[in-house]
Amino acid sequence: MEAVIALSIGVLFASGVWLILRPRTFQVIIGLLLISYAVNLFIFIMGRLSVNQPPLALQAGTDTNLFADPVTQALVLTAIVIGFATTALYLVLLLTSRGLSGTDHVDGREPSA
């Protein structure tokens, strides 16, 4: 399990890094999406892996070691929603830049080849 999820984070992150180094704005937005998946997972696993132990339905006196870490979950939940907001902002920026400059290159102009 650990190896699988670690490798997967690596693959997601590598794909994202590759994409944000590309010259077209759409590639960058997809790259940011993938990086945010990888980073969210990364933060999430800081609470270690636990199967079938959601931090729910606690009763007083229950052994708290039986539950998954709620802190990383709360952090990631806000991160997901903020991620949506930044994606939206980036998308609108890239559209505006495209409308103003007539190109979808990240620098706002085609490279002088």
Binding site: M1, I5, A6, L7, G10, V11, A14, G16, V17, W18, L19, I20, L21, R24, F26, I29, I30, G31, L33, L34, L41, F42, F44, I45, R48, L49, V51, Q53, P54, P55, L56, A57, L58, Q59, F67, A68, D69, P70, Q73, A74, V76, L77, T78, I80, V81, I82, F84, T86, T87, A88, L89, L91, V92, L93, L94, L95, T96, R98, G99, T103
Partner: protein
């Protein structure tokens, strides 16, 4: 307490003055005068205490642990300087009332002047060294603003910039010096520092501390080699020159040297550095002053030379020299301020300050002429005037310091005296001769009250000169006592000490000066020569200009070398640095590669992630030419992430991720329409193909390395046992304190509610930004036409508007069931919302679900159909949501609890049974509102673009020759 008032009223007056309408001239002056009078009253009230030798202190603790407090401290020296600052301020205000022209924005002038006075009082009253530096920089700043007051003039702007650069750089040196001094002394408190003189002088840091503080003081007091800024500062209005650049601000450096005299002086280094700078300055500046043609220029160089004299006195380091320095500071302030005012009057009434044109003013303005002649005589050191007394003390000290064998110092003093007599004569000469007829205006006496300040100051010169012991004696005693304490020497303020060596020196200087002036005038055509002989090559200003130029070109060179505006190299750099930093940090970590904590491998999970990884890599592969598939593939990876959350005990995350995934996909789909079509390049040149291949290999390597690093760190973390964190606390306290069994939700809306409040604010801001950006959106010309898929003639739907497609076209079936689904989705959202505190759900999930329900209707029937039936007002959702969240927090504050404290109530309702209503519920309602508002605002703003683009496209079809709107 009175000290605090003394410091604060100038600043209050400054704000008050700045708010006055610019047409008010007298009211401004009255306001400033009132501030000055209050200050004077406070000083008078404190005189009895100060004269008893008391030190008044007022302290407000700010960061006591770091020794940073607001300390106001008034001893004799500070009192004396405060008197100088406030007294001359009053005279200058009166003078400026008549000097400033009606066209000038007077409120700004008085506001700056008041701010300067406050800053200057702050410098002299500071009981904490760091605080002193702060006020010190404030004086530099207000001086900058005042020199640049006539900012339409380029010389004013340049002079202001130069003065600020020099004095503020000095201020930075001073700050460093003061910090080191405070470190050595163990405190920044002035009383402690003043007692630590012996410690400092023996410390290894003594030389750097002395050098840094001296740099601060010498730049401020315009000492060689930093003297060049002062003549350029004369571009300021004359009241400013009289106040800042002769009487007060330039004396700040002197004040600092006096203040720290007990700590720093008494070493050969002090004498060489301070005394050397002083002597060099007084010789150089008094010589250059003779050759000025501008009245104010002459006065500026003369000021520099007199400051040099005071600095030289301080450098000698004997107690008697200190007394003389304080005495000369007072004398110089009186005669020089009056001379500046007189020069201003001449300028004001005749329209020029050029001494080559001015002649015979004695006949046209007899009273002003008399006053100015008396003041210049004081400057020259004529007996029975105050300048004579302090200069005599200076001569006596120069004789003393060189002992009986070394007369160089005394010689320098005599030479400087001769020069100063010569330039005083040069100044006086404008009043003699035949009246000039070629002046821009015919001069006459100024208004009565404009001359009054000059009269006051000249009377003071006379009073001090004739009855020194009666007039200035007690004040001088106060100041000297404060600095010297036990060391206070016996001195005798009298006009006549009998015939002695200093008197002979005075006599030599007077006759020598007259002779020098006569010779220069006859032989060397002084009236017309354009530059001082010999010394014009020593040009600090040119040095400054070339230094500034070098800095600027160096910076642009560096920027060209190191900077780029292109995003890709920046990102490459960013990723590389992060990678390197991570690797460097990882080297020191323990390597745990044993599978000690491994959870047994779950085959479906591994397969799931195989799929996820394939999706991610494929998305990366396809994102350039196949945007739609890349989006779908990225969404696939997102779904795998979502399932992972579900499996790994995070149902809330899974729900949120699923909804966000949906909304994001819709969002990007809406945006895809406006991106340019991308065709594969046909035949790139071999060279560019090679560089492109190189670039891609580099990026690929970087990506793979980052991925590996990320995987390695993740694995490493997972192998290490979890450190005991704060999670246990939340798990234990969620029910007793938060009143909910879903710990994640309790965390979000209760324990970490403030964080969530910040987050929904960000969400609202982003939504409004998106809305604002899209209001001004101009789609590119080629993406305005309908896409080919929608105009295919073979498709019957192409001729229908979306509404017709739903109500009778090919979307009839989905139309029916999606409309049936709408209320169900709403109920679902409500359900998730209500149970959020105890079970997976909550405001975020419910809000997203609610938005998805509405967006589905948009997708189905188009914006027009939906919006003609539903009025959504996403802005109001945003506002109400934020208000609800804030109101929850404010409610807790009103009830006496910390912000956002939660309270739980259980309501017994018929039909529903027991209802669990925590106040966090209202907060969650706020979250819900903001999420719905933000999502809908962003998506509908994007969706509206296509209907707008159609209108634009149609408008273009109708009038093909018009410019694109």
């Amino acid at each position: 307490m009175l000290l605090l008032v003394l410091i604060l009223i100038p600043f209050i007056g400054c704000i008050r003055a700045a708010l006055q309408p610019s047409s008010e001239r007298s009211r401004e002056a009255w306001l400033a005068a009132a501030v000055g009078l209050i200050g004077l009253a406070i000083l008078a009230f404190q005189f009895p205490q100060i004269s008893q030798g008391e030190v008044l202190r007022y302290q407000i603790d700010w960061m006591p642990a770091y020794g940073l407090n607001l300390v106001l401290r008034m001893d004799g020296l500070a009192w004396l300087f405060s008197l100088l600052i406030v007294g001359i301020f009053l005279l200058v205000v009166l003078y400026a009332r008549y000097y400033m022209s009606p066209q000038d924005p007077v409120p700004r002038f008085y506001a700056f002047l008041l701010a300067f006075m406050g800053a200057m009082l702050g410098v002299v009253l500071s009981g904490n060294l760091v605080q002193l530096v702060l006020f010190w920089e404030l004086t530099s700043l207000s001086s900058f603003l005042l020199i640049g007051y006539w900012h339409h003039r380029s010389d004013a702007r340049r002079g202001a910039r130069m003065a600020f650069t020099v004095t503020a750089s000095g201020g930075l040196c001073l700050l460093a010096g003061v910090l080191m001094l405070g470190h050595v002394a163990g405190s920044y408190d002035l009383d402690v520092v003043l007692a630590a003189g012996d410690t400092l002088r023996a410390h290894a840091w003594y030389r750097p501390v002395l050098l840094l503080i001296a740099l601060g003081a010498l730049t401020k007091s315009a000492q060689f080699p930093f003297h060049f800024w002062l003549p350029h500062a004369m571009a300021a209005p004359t009241p400013v020159s009289a106040y800042l650049h002769s009487a007060t601000m330039v004396k700040a450096g002197i004040f600092l040297l006096m203040r720290l005299w007990p700590v720093l002086s008494g070493t050969p280094e002090w004498t060489w550095l301070i005394g050397g700078a002083g002597v060099a300055t007084l010789m150089l500046a008094s010589f250059i002053a003779i050759f000025q043609h501008d009245l104010k220029g002459l006065l500026a160089y003369s000021t520099i030379s007199h400051l040099g004299l005071i600095t030289a006195l301080l450098g000698m380091g004997t107690p008697l020299a200190m007394v003389a320095a304080i005495f000369h500071t007072l004398n110089h302030a009186t005669f020089k301020a009056s001379l500046f005012m007189a020069a201003g009057i001449i300028d004001h009434e005749s329209g020029t300050r050029d001494m080559r044109q001015l002649r015979g003013l004695r006949h046209l303005m007899p009273i002003t002429a008399t006053l100015a002649i008396v003041a210049s005589a004081a400057m020259a050191g004529v007996p029975f005037l105050n300048g004579f007394l302090s200069k005599e003390m200076f001569f006596a000290e120069t004789l003393l310091v060189g002992s009986s064998s070394n007369y160089w110092m005394a010689f320098a003093a005599v030479v400087m005296g001769i020069f100063s007599v010569a330039y005083s004569l040069r100044f006086i000469y404008v009043f003699f001769g035949r009246p000039a007829s070629d002046l821009p205006r015919t001069p006459h006496e100024p208004p009565r009250w404009m001359r009054f300040p000059v009269e006051v100051l000249v009377v003071l010169c006379l009073a001090v000169g004739m009855m020194p012991a009666l007039s200035v004696g007690p004040l001088l005693q106060l100041g000297a006592q404060a600095v010297l304490g036990e060391q206070l020497p016996h001195y005798d303020l009298a006009v006549w000490h009998g015939v002695n060596l200093p008197l002979v020196m005075s006599f030599i200087t007077l006759t020598g000066g007259v002779l020098l002036y006569a010779v220069l005038r006859r032989r060397f055509n002084l009236a017309q020569s354009s530059r001082p002989p010999l010394l014009h090559r020593i040009n600090g200003q040119r040095l400054y200009e070339s230094l500034m130029l070098g800095l600027r070109s160096g910076a642009s060179q560096l920027e060209k070398l190191l900077g780029t505006r292109r995003l890709q190299p920046q990102l490459v750099l960013l990723v590389s640095v992060c990678l390197a930093a991570g690797v460097a940090a990882a080297i020191s970590l323990p390597s745990v590669w044993t599978a000690a904590h491994s959870t047994p491998l779950d085959l479906p999970f591994a397969l799931l992630w195989l799929l996820g990884c394939v999706c991610a890599v494929a998305a990366a592969w396809q994102a350039k030419y196949h945007r739609l598939s890349a989006l779908a593939l990225a969404g696939g990876a997102g779904l795998v992430v979502c399932l992972t959350f579900l499996l790994l005990s995070a149902p809330d995350l899974a729900l949120t991720q699923l909804m966000v995934e949906t909304v994001t996909t819709v969002l990007i789909l809406l945006g895809l329409r406006w991106l340019p079509p991308r065709q594969p390049q046909l035949a790139p040149s071999p060279r560019s193909a090679r560089t492109a291949r190189l670039r891609r290999s580099r990026d690929l390597l970087l990506a793979i390395l980052s991925g590996l690093a990320m995987a390695a760190i993740s694995y490493l973390v997972l192998m290490l046992p979890a450190a005991p964190g704060i999670s246990q606390f939340f798990l234990e306290q969620a029910v007793p304190q938060g009143g909910g069994t879903n710990v994640v939700n309790v965390l979000l809306v209760d324990f970490r509610g403030f964080d969530t409040l910040g987050e929904i604010s960000v969400l609202a801001i982003v939504a409004l930004t998106v809305y604002g950006l899209l209001r001004r959106f101009r789609p590119a010309a080629e993406s305005m036409a309908l896409p080919p898929q929608q105009t295919n003639p073979a498709d019957p739907a192409a001729r229908q508007i979306p509404e017709e497609q739903v109500n009778g076209g090919y979307l009839l079936v989905p139309g029916v069931y999606l409309r049936v689904l709408l209320p169900m989705i709403m109920v679902c959202a409500l359900y998730f919302f209500m149970r959020g505190h105890n079970m997976p759900g909550g405001g975020f999930v419910a809000g997203l679900l609610f938005s998805v329900g509405i967006i589905l209707q948009y997708l189905l029937a188009g914006t027009q159909w939906v919006e003609s039936r539903m009025h959504l007002h996403p802005h109001r959702w945003l506002a109400l949501g934020l208000l609800a969240a804030l109101a929850t927090g404010a409610g807790a504050v009103l009830a006496g609890y910390p912000f956002l404290t939660s309270h739980t109530a259980h309501l017994e309702l018929p039909l529903f049974g027991m209802l669990h209503v925590p106040s966090a519920f209202v907060f969650d309602l706020g979250v819900f509102g903001v999420v719905v508002g933000a999502t809908l605002l962003i998506l509908t703003a994007l969706a509206h673009q296509s209907s707008r683009a159609h209108r634009l496209a149609h408008a273009n079809d109708d009038t093909p020759h018009q410019e694109e709107p």
